[in-house]
Amino acid sequence: MADPVLSLSHLSKSFGALKATDDVSLTLMPGEIHALIGPNGAGKSTLIGQISGRIAPDAGTITFKGRDITGLSVAQRARLGLGRSFQISSLIPEYSARRNVMLGLQARQGHSFRFLKPVMRDRRLKEEAGAILSKVGLAGRASVPSAELSHGERRLLEIAVALALEPACFLLDEPMAGMGAEGVGALVDFLRGLKAQAPILLIEHDMDAVFALADRLSVLVYGRIIASGSVEEIRNDPAVREAYLGDSE
């Protein structure tokens, strides 16, 4: 079996008496979509925060591409190839869609201490950004400031910025949040193609989308992973049905 791209091992984080992350271990293998689901308050955001580097775990290690990244900053992790999208769209509001993507490209190239050349006259950077926007279907909105984009368009721009980083793994925090059914369908198709480029750790509320996409599922409840396995296994797991999916019978 290949080595995992990303692995969490015995991660724990408490806020006072609240165990937000309780001995969580999981892996993300090359070429897969691993979905993390859980009810509100299960600790998904805290876990994402620890993976991205915004929150320091109390115990446990995070390994990315064979390297212990537990002590690295958000920016250092991103430079290693951890590309994330935010649950609540987090873009540069006054920058156009194109310029948001260009910032990602600039970051990937690592050339942010350049003072002389005007970035908006960098034709190659602009064209590359345009190509990425076309991939997510935002080519026609390239010049619009991201604050003026619709909610669904901002979700897509989040993905486009992550694409610009050409990451070794995507960390997508509820990419479908607040999208209409049509948008979700298109995004599901898009993500299915995306996993060939890099594996995806998908945190998502939309169950239909998760079941359609995920190769593996982990269920987080009260900071603890109560089950992990294929879509079929999780669907039939009695503990999961009780805790999360809601036993309708």
Binding site: F86, Y95, Q106, S112, R114, M120, P145
Partner: protein, 325 residues
Amino acid sequence: MPDNRREYALNAVLALGLLLVPLWAYWAGSPFTITVFTRIAIFALAAVGLNIALGLGGMVSFGHAVYFGVGGYVAGIAAQHAFNGETFLGIAGANQMLIIWPIAMIAAGLLAAVIGAFSLRTSGIFFIMITLAFAQMVYYFAISWPTYGGEDGLPIYVRNTFPGLNTMRPWNLFILCWCLLMLAIGAFALIRASRFGAALMAIRQNPDRVAAVGISPFGIKLAAFVISAMITGLAGALMADLSRFASPAAMAWTMSGELIVIIILGGTGRLFGPVAGAAVLVGFEVIFGGMTEHWRLWLGLVLLLTVLFARGGIVTLIAGRERLG
């Protein structure tokens, strides 16, 4: 990108107006007018510096007067040593502006690197307070240092010199200040359009997003803070030579406030905002300062109106909002 014709026109009016009025005053024989416009140019230069930190990077430094003051002290100390026939930093006759300016900029930059390294770990109100606290520390250090004048400040008996110019003549000093202001505005434009500027302006809007794409906000902000302080330090050296006095008051927190006022009046982050803001500030000082000691009351009123009804200042009022592209 100022692809806005009205902004180009306004910038041209401001740049040329700042040049042509003193030129007229030169022919008309009004050295006072030239000195007033030199003050505008120097305050504008100081504010161009602050505009990099505040306008582009969103760092509300409430201690930029300290760099302005340090620049002034470099000019004053150099002049005093030269006047006494002593060396300054091992340089004999260091009353050359071409020597003083780099020293003033480096001194301000080093100080900003230290202050920034601490204060940039915070943000919001804490950043404002820490920059203020550092500036006040340096201010009290300056007024308690008798070698260089202490509370009385440091008079400059003979202005520092510039090759080929007699800096004691108002017009000559003015043209130096005007050229430096234009150079600084050019540098500001370059920085704003560059990759560095793209990262800096993005950090102002959303630092978490910038970190998530892999650019450390801290390094970018610190570099911008240092560049910002260097330009303000240069302005301080010029101001000391203009008033022939290196004053501890140039480091006082009221001065930091005035620099922020200039930027808010002119237009935060706008290329020629500092020029417009400095013209209003110095204009009020000259016009109302002659009538009443309390001229700042009227300035306060204008500031209030700006904040309430013309966010984005004079430049935005005339040329419209800026689109970052």
